[in-house]
Symmetry: D2
Subunit: 139 residues, 4 copies
């Protein structure tokens, strides 16, 4: 991958204050595949003490969005047009890892997916599946 | 509405630490309709400075979930099985207001929707539409 | 509405052979709102004898697509990028009626919804809700 | 797989008159994976002559539903609660092949996905991706 493309994903991520609030980090950038992790912090839980669906969604959506950005020219940014999440299991554990992937790149629309896993005691459980559409926009 | 039903929605909401992190508040509880607002805080923004899609999703999903809870017996809680969000416009302004509604109650599944508006300078803009499925579970 | 816009929706509909196979008809065209009906034919049923989800989807998607087309210039056609359907009740009765609406028009994307009702013995039941994205394309 | 489970999928499929109208066939049944094909008939096209989205949806939804049925006890049937389809490319060619898979089995909900490919001149193109939820019901 173009090192500039990697740098600009890190720069964009760093400018999303929501990602800092959630304690999220980019842990892998490949062409068409980006991975983001986040701890399940005391401040990002739902009523039963598991990670909040909003946390799972946020890093799943971001991983999918940056996967789309990784296949676009440097003068384009990307916005989420729509995304659907199926929640498969509670977000139980220490941290979540979201892997976003490009399913179908396009000039007007980029179809993406993401899987989110929860990690606890060395085990990893698939807790959510996302499928959505990103739109390239001029930066 | 049963006052106990209102109290338990407030109690459940108060136990979601994510809602506190986002600065969210329940501003209306009716039978089958719940409204949640959140400011667009310095810490919940995306790369262009607008509210993050994760913020919009979080309060939309919660409003829809509590709308479902408002029509359930007190001994049941609710989980999001799946939800889809279409983002219509940037989350520009001072605060977001999400209105969740029950479309079709059921013993096994509750179909819900939510609208999220952004408020700026007294004007309100529809920025997102959600459609999803909640599942009643024993408390 | 521009009479030419109405004519071209009827022309486009007539060229969808799937609509003829399903026995579907356009029964209302307004600006941003189109209604399509279809009988539940012997040949469009699922395993329990109700209307097939594919029938419900087909007319819901078409109604939403033509609602989008109704707000576009004559030199543009429209394609479904994605659509989600929640099935609320069995398609029981004599005929289905789908009402498609434009939620948010746009130059690049048009967000749409559709409701599908089943009619039996003079009563009408909401059986499905769709939410999706249409893309304008040159004709 | 239990031969009875295979027989009942074939029986259920045969009782869906919509599948006969579309010319669809079950071409593979495995545990958690079912494949259905359908020709692009003169009577199942959209306005540009490609296969109709309703055709793509119908066989994608059925393949996903039968994948769910393949992992259920014989005394249970399955209904689609909701499903989302992203259309990636026109349904161009001679026939469509839908592969449905179980992502996450459950007692109350089964999360499924499906891919639909179009075949033309020996080449196969991914044209649609579906993600949805099936609900087990008593037969």
């Amino acid at each position: 991958m173009d090192p500039q493309a990697i740098v600009r994903i890190h720069d964009s991520f760093a400018s999303q204050t929501m990602m800092q609030t959630l304690g999220a980090e980019v842990i892998h950038i490949g062409s068409g595949e980006v991975r983001i992790s986040a701890p399940i912090l005391p401040g990002t839980r739902q009523q039963q003490g598991f990670g909040h669906a909003g946390l799972t969604f946020s890093i799943g959506d971001s991983a999918a969005g940056y996967a789309a950005l990784s296949v676009l020219p440097l003068e384009q940014d990307v916005l989420t047009a729509e995304i659907k999440i199926n929640l498969l299991a509670p977000a139980r554990g220490d941290r979540l890892v979201a892997t976003g992937r490009v399913i179908k790149p396009g000039r007007r629309l980029i179809v993406v997916s993401a899987e989110v896993h929860a990690e606890a005691d060395g085990a990893s459980t698939l807790i959510a599946l996302l499928q959505g559409t990103m739109v390239p926009v001029p930066t």
